[in-house]
């Protein structure tokens, strides 16, 4: 097995891709998905594997620049001849090409790529872009060529990764393409007038039975493909430690505070944080605990995909309020983790005691925490991610 270096994808595929797999990333137009191929290549090169990029959409210089913007150094691998380009762009633009292979006419593409595959035994080849190839070569010829490349890939134990933009091709072509691949990853959009999110899903894999969950992602520079959690709600009774939790869990956070007359601050609007953890990105919203702000709970709850409920483990009299807040945030319907905060204080109840008192089901993880010291924060995050992504 080889890793894909795409967060979450290896898990879905049962550990990664088989060594000589042919993989197609099939994306609806408008989705930013070139990074999937580049990220896989970068990861494999980093492992010492050989690799190439066939491009008919951008000159090698542009792709090197893109790698740089993701924070990956392709030039080093090119210099070491560990990686090379098959340039199907520059000659068509009348530009000189110093790539190892360049294609001046599409009739050469079949043989040149076969040769390139032989140059990367046990390595990886990225084909960007399959759609452009189809439009030049025609549908039947492209399918034939792909079959030859894939069987050559099997022979040389190389992975072949195809980037395919799903313009309005006919159904049969798409089916035939899928049949020619060991694995197909569909890249889709979440749309509400415009694209508001994008996610990937494994449609088919010859070596495993992947689950049909859609993983939301972002492409960020630097960084590449990162799994995305749109919004996470942090709620709980007054003075349970929500603001501190948002601060601890976030890389950046903003608190809309107002100093009360007694001069200790409490959140009167929102705590907003942004977290990045093991390739996962999320926006975190902490709500005020006082009842007069319950309206916010409804709004935020509706938009959230997961929630942290924080309670003060020494204050069982607030547990009823915590349950009410779960209801008001409509958090019954979203994955949630309960954080049993203030475990360092005398009289703190244990997670199991809290579960009993609050009558919570076993499906809700309860994480003991001392949020002020950052203890339990990562555990809580791991627990929620586990729920969201079915770990």
């Amino acid at each position: 097995m080889k890793k894909t270096y795409i967060p979450k994808l290896d898990d879905i595929l049962g550990g990664g891709i088989i060594d000589n797999a042919s993989v197609m990333f099939s994306a609806v137009p408008g989705v930013d998905y070139e990074a999937f191929g580049y990220q896989m290549l970068n990861g494999r090169l980093g492992e010492g594997d050989k690799g190439f990029i066939f491009t008919n959409v951008a000159e090698p210089e542009t792709i090197i620049y893109e790698f740089r913007s993701y924070g990956w150094d392709l030039e080093k691998f090119l210099k070491d001849t560990q990686a090379f380009f098959v340039d199907g762009t520059s000659p068509f633009m009348g530009l000189p090409s110093d790539a190892k292979y360049s294609i001046e006419d599409y009739s050469q593409v079949e043989d040149v790529i076969l040769e390139a595959i032989e140059d990367v035994p046990d390595g990886i080849g990225i084909i960007n872009n399959l759609s452009t190839l189809i439009d030049y070569l025609g549908e039947d010829e492209t399918i034939n060529i792909i079959k030859k490349w894939n069987s050559h890939g099997k022979k040389y134990n190389a992975s072949l990764i195809y980037l395919f933009t799903k313009w309005d091709y006919n159904h049969d072509l798409i089916q035939n393409l899928k049949k020619s691949m060991d694995c197909v990853v569909e890249i889709k959009t979440i749309e509400e007038r415009v694209i508001i999110g994008q996610g990937f899903m494994v449609a088919h894999s010859s070596w495993s039975e992947p689950s049909d969950t859609m993983v939301l992602f972002f492409v960020v520079q630097p960084g590449g493909v990162k799994v995305y959690i749109p919004k996470i709600l942090v709620t709980g009774p007054y003075n349970a430690g929500k603001s501190t939790f948002v601060k601890k869990i976030s890389k950046k956070s903003v608190s809309v505070d107002r100093k009360a007359l007694s001069a200790f601050p409490t959140t009167i609007a929102l705590d907003i944080g942004h977290l990045e953890y093991k390739g996962f990105i999320a926006d975190v919203f902490g709500t005020p605990g006082q009842e007069r702000f319950d309206l916010l709970l409804d709004v935020l709850g509706r938009e959230s995909v997961g929630a942290f409920i924080i309670v003060d483990s020494t204050a069982p009299q607030t547990f009823a309020r915590a349950k009410e807040m779960i209801r008001k945030a409509k958090a019954e319907a979203i994955p949630k983790v309960l954080i049993a905060n203030k475990q360092d204080l005398p009289g703190a109840l244990s997670p199991e005691e809290i579960r009993e008192k609050m009558k919570l089901g076993e499906d809700i993880p309860i994480i003991p925490a001392i949020v002020t010291e950052g203890k339990g924060v990562t555990d809580a995050l791991e627990a929620l991610l586990g729920l969201l992504y079915g770990d």
């Binding site: 137009p29 070139e34 008919n56 959409v57 951008a58 633009m93 452009t132 933009t165 313009w167 415009v194």
Partner: protein, 235 residues
Amino acid sequence: MIELIVRISSGIPGLDKLVGGGGGSFAENTVTLVYGPPKVGKSVFSYQFAFEGLRNNEPCLYISTDYGLKDIERNIANFGWNLDEYIENESFYFIDAISTIAGVEVESKPNYFLSSVHNPTDIMVKLGMAMRQIISKSPRFRSVLDSLTTLMAFNDEVLIVRVLTVYIMRIKESGGTAIVTYTEGSASSKVENMLKAIVDNIIHLDGENLTIEAMIGGGKVKGQYDITPKGIVVD
């Protein structure tokens, strides 16, 4: 007769009257093909359409395959219109699909997107990014794609028909009104017919006459035009 179609102004003096649609030319949320031989004013037509929208607080998403932003600014300034203010207040969004090819260094702005004529997949990605910003500001906007001809020079013609189909779908779904330009005879007649089939309105320019070959809610009409120091004027 009651006019049920909401029409928006073209920005071209005389054209709205020629269409006869009571105050506007193009039905809102439609896509118009502007085509003709080289150098008859297709780009000028695009500038006027875009600028008219900007003047009326409608953001514009401009995809340029022939000129970078500086060139467009200068071309527009030649007619006495100033784009700066709209670039500055981020109501003019620009997808530059040519500067990378020309190797020009461009400074990055939130409403400026660099792409490549060679990479329609990337153009669509940038279109999506720009539209996300635009529709958070305004429920209506204008878009220009100038020109299909250059995209066809760098890609297979059929692929560009596919790209245009997606472009039209995206613009319409999000409430935009667009024009696309194309140089007559630069693609096969089969592809030219496909282009005409997927747009709503068709305007032909030949240097003397402006012919509305198809227009939602209107018939075929013809008028003479001139390219003046104030842009295209239909007599």
